[in-house]
């Protein structure tokens, strides 16, 4: 073998090893993780009850009145913070007759006890933390203002509570 052939052989060995060193493929994996929380459920549990109202005499039901205040029961992910927003009527209605309602008050509690509920202002909304079992109770009170010539009848309206994470 002559000098030129030996040098060529060495150069070929160099290129072969270099090529082998370059042709490498490798891979690795990581995980993606998430924990989906319990969905929120809101149910109307008790109506806001003004009972008998007399023309010209305003009547108030406080949010702390466990018997007559309106109440919703909320369930969701334990110990989660939730946002509360209310849709409030301006009047109760009986046929074509309107009975003004205003001065809404509210309260939240992780147990079914309106008297010890934390106060909120329904017109502004608020937030609260669900209990360790994912429960929350929300109350609403208000004042109706019948006119001196308010027609007699049964007046009703809807109050809506929206709860979100």
């Amino acid at each position: 073998m002559n000098t030129a052939s030996k040098l060529t052989l060495a150069a070929l060995a160099l290129s072969v090893f270099a090529t082998a060193a370059q042709a490498q493929v490798n891979n690795a994996s990581i995980t993606a993780t998430a924990t989906v929380q319990q969905p929120i459920n809101v149910s109307g549990a008790q109506g806001l009850n003004f009972s008998n109202v007399f023309p010209g005499i305003a009547k108030t039901v406080l949010a702390t009145d466990g018997t007559n205040a309106g109440r919703w029961d909320v369930t969701g992910q334990a110990s989660s913070l939730v946002n509360l927003s209310f849709t409030l009527p301006g009047n109760l209605q009986s046929g074509a007759n309107l009975l003004p309602i205003a001065n809404f008050t509210g309260g939240t509690n992780t147990v079914n006890n309106a008297a010890t509920a934390a106060a909120i202002t329904p017109s502004l909304g608020g937030s609260a933390t669900l209990s360790g079992t994912g429960a929350l109770f929300v109350w609403v009170g208000a004042q109706v203002n019948p006119a001196i010539n308010q027609p007699a009848g049964v007046y009703t309206a809807s109050v809506t509570l929206t709860v979100t994470y």
Partner: protein
């Protein structure tokens, strides 16, 4: 054989062996999982590739200043309880490469497309990835997981 050529050939061969030992194997390792944490039904949750705690991270080692080709294998959904699945989306800027291995210094790229990167002078680099979990409004509660794979190769 010409004796004067023999030492030269030995030098060349030994040089070949030494070069092979200096060529580092190309490796990739998973450093950190992509963590979405608490996810609420109906509320998408996005993790940025620049999130130092929750973004996914891979570290690369190989030949210094070498160009490498990065290819992700991404899940379309995460698997959860009782066969539930939760869609997982990756946007055009949800991956990033850093030759300084610093999360604050990345070149963004689309993880759904191959990407060419250059290892630094020490033969290192890092890849970061974020994404968006898309729970439905009635998504079943519980833990969900998925697997992201990064394949690397010298290029060319």
């Amino acid at each position: 054989m010409n004796r004067s050529l023999l030492p030269l050939l030995l030098v060349l061969l030994s040089g070949t062996t030494r070069l092979d030992a200096q060529g580092r194997p190309l490796t990739v390792s998973g450093v950190r999982s992509l963590v979405f944490g608490a996810v609420f039904p109906g509320v998408p949750r996005t993790i940025s590739r620049t999130d130092p705690a929750n973004s996914g991270q891979f570290d690369l080692t190989g030949n210094k200043n070498s160009q490498v080709r990065l290819v992700f294998t991404l899940p379309a959904a995460m698997a959860g309880p009782v066969g539930a699945t939760m869609p997982l989306a990756f946007g055009g800027g949800d991956a990033g490469y850093s030759d300084t291995q610093a999360i604050g210094s990345q070149v963004a790229f689309d993880p759904k497309q191959p990407f060419l990167a250059t290892l630094n002078k020490n033969g290192r680099g890092s890849v970061f990835i974020g994404g968006t979990a898309q729970p439905g409004s009635s998504q079943r509660a519980g833990p969900y997981t998925g697997t992201l794979t990064l394949t690397v190769a010298y290029f060319p």
